[in-house]
């Protein structure tokens, strides 16, 4: 194991660069994911993203979040200290089949995207009644 390893690899401010030139650099937004018996809730930090620049797509068991932040800045701005380098956010998750992707509920408030993916009716936990005799 080498001591020269570049440790700061994956955190909120890291750029996720792709090989294909068509993809621009994007940040990976921080998420909180919680599951209870009715479904999964995801909170994602997307500061500076208005509703019209947010794209949440569900396809083939894959949930993807793509967003672009725009912070209005005055003309002639000379940026001296940058901790958030790119305005694009991208993250994708695979969704297991017991979640109902047709009933995803998404809301964006103050830069926080809240996604609620309920479980399919058939996958909800249920008690089985045992008949005597």
């Amino acid at each position: 194991m080498s001591n020269e390893t570049d440790l700061v690899r994956r955190d909120e401010g890291t750029l996720a660069e792709r090989d294909t030139p068509a993809r621009r650099a994007a940040l990976v937004p921080a998420v909180d994911i919680v599951e209870d018996k009715t479904g999964v809730t995801v909170w994602a930090d997307l500061p500076g993203v208005p509703k019209d620049k947010l794209d949440v797509k569900v396809h083939d068991g894959r949930l993807s979040i793509e967003a672009e932040a725009c912070v209005p800045t005055p003309a002639g701005l000379n940026v001296t200290h940058v901790e958030v380098r790119a305005p694009r956010y991208e993250r994708a998750f695979s969704i297991s089949s017991d979640l109902d992707t047709s009933r995803v509920d998404a809301s964006l408030q103050d830069g926080v995207l809240t996604l609620r993916i309920p479980r399919r009716e058939a996958a909800l936990p249920r008690r089985i009644e045992v008949k005597a005799g």
């Binding site: 194991m1 080498s2 001591n3 390893t5 440790l7 700061v8 690899r9 994956r10 909120e12 401010g13 921080a30 998420v31 909180d32 994911i33 919680v34 599951e35 209870d36 018996k37 809730t41 909170w43 930090d45 997307l46 500061p47 500076g48 993203v49 208005p50 932040a69 912070v71 209005p72 800045t73 005055p74 003309a75 002639g76 701005l77 000379n78 940026v79 001296t80 200290h81 940058v82 901790e83 958030v84 408030q109 103050d110 830069g111 926080v112 809240t114």
Partner: protein, 148 residues
């Protein structure tokens, strides 16, 4: 990061954290962090300047702007606040798979140049971004001088 999983835990892990600490302090050098600043650099800040103002953008989603504490004292701009976890996250029978978002109290301090005028400050909170505009003293704005 993958090297951490295959190396020995114990001393190697702590050495990597020390190096991370050093790298973070290099990145934030020149900006005085208050003693009580939170370790994980939340919220991130971008700083820029124009001819007549200093613009600071703080990326802090999910915060109530009324609870944010923005103040200037002796040339230091302090942004402090607290972010709580959303209610659904702290349920008893809920399982948490990821907890990457910062929660808790935070404080960031930015040193303002002497050209900044602390009486001319505007702050706006939009879509999770706090934009602070600090005007510069009139006398420090660039001006051209006509030669007769």
């Amino acid at each position: 990061m993958s090297d951490l999983f295959f190396g020995n835990f114990g001393t190697d892990l702590f050495r990597e954290f020390d190096r991370l600490q050093q790298q973070m302090s290099v990145l934030t050098a020149g900006r005085p962090l208050s003693l009580r600043a939170s370790p994980g650099v939340f919220p991130p800040i971008n700083i820029g300047s124009t001819d007549d103002s200093i613009e600071i953008v703080v990326f802090a989603p999910g915060i109530d702007p009324a609870a944010l504490d923005v103040s200037i004292d002796k040339g230091l701009l302090t942004i402090a606040g607290e972010r709580k976890r959303p209610e659904g996250a702290v349920h008893e029978d809920a399982r948490s798979y990821a907890r990457e978002r910062f929660a808790g109290a935070f404080r960031r301090v930015v040193e303002l140049p002497s050209t900044a005028n602390p009486d001319d400050v505007q702050a706006k909170y939009n879509d999770g971004c706090l934009s602070i505009r600090i005007g510069k003293h009139e006398s420090s704005k660039p001006r051209s001088i006509t030669v007769q």
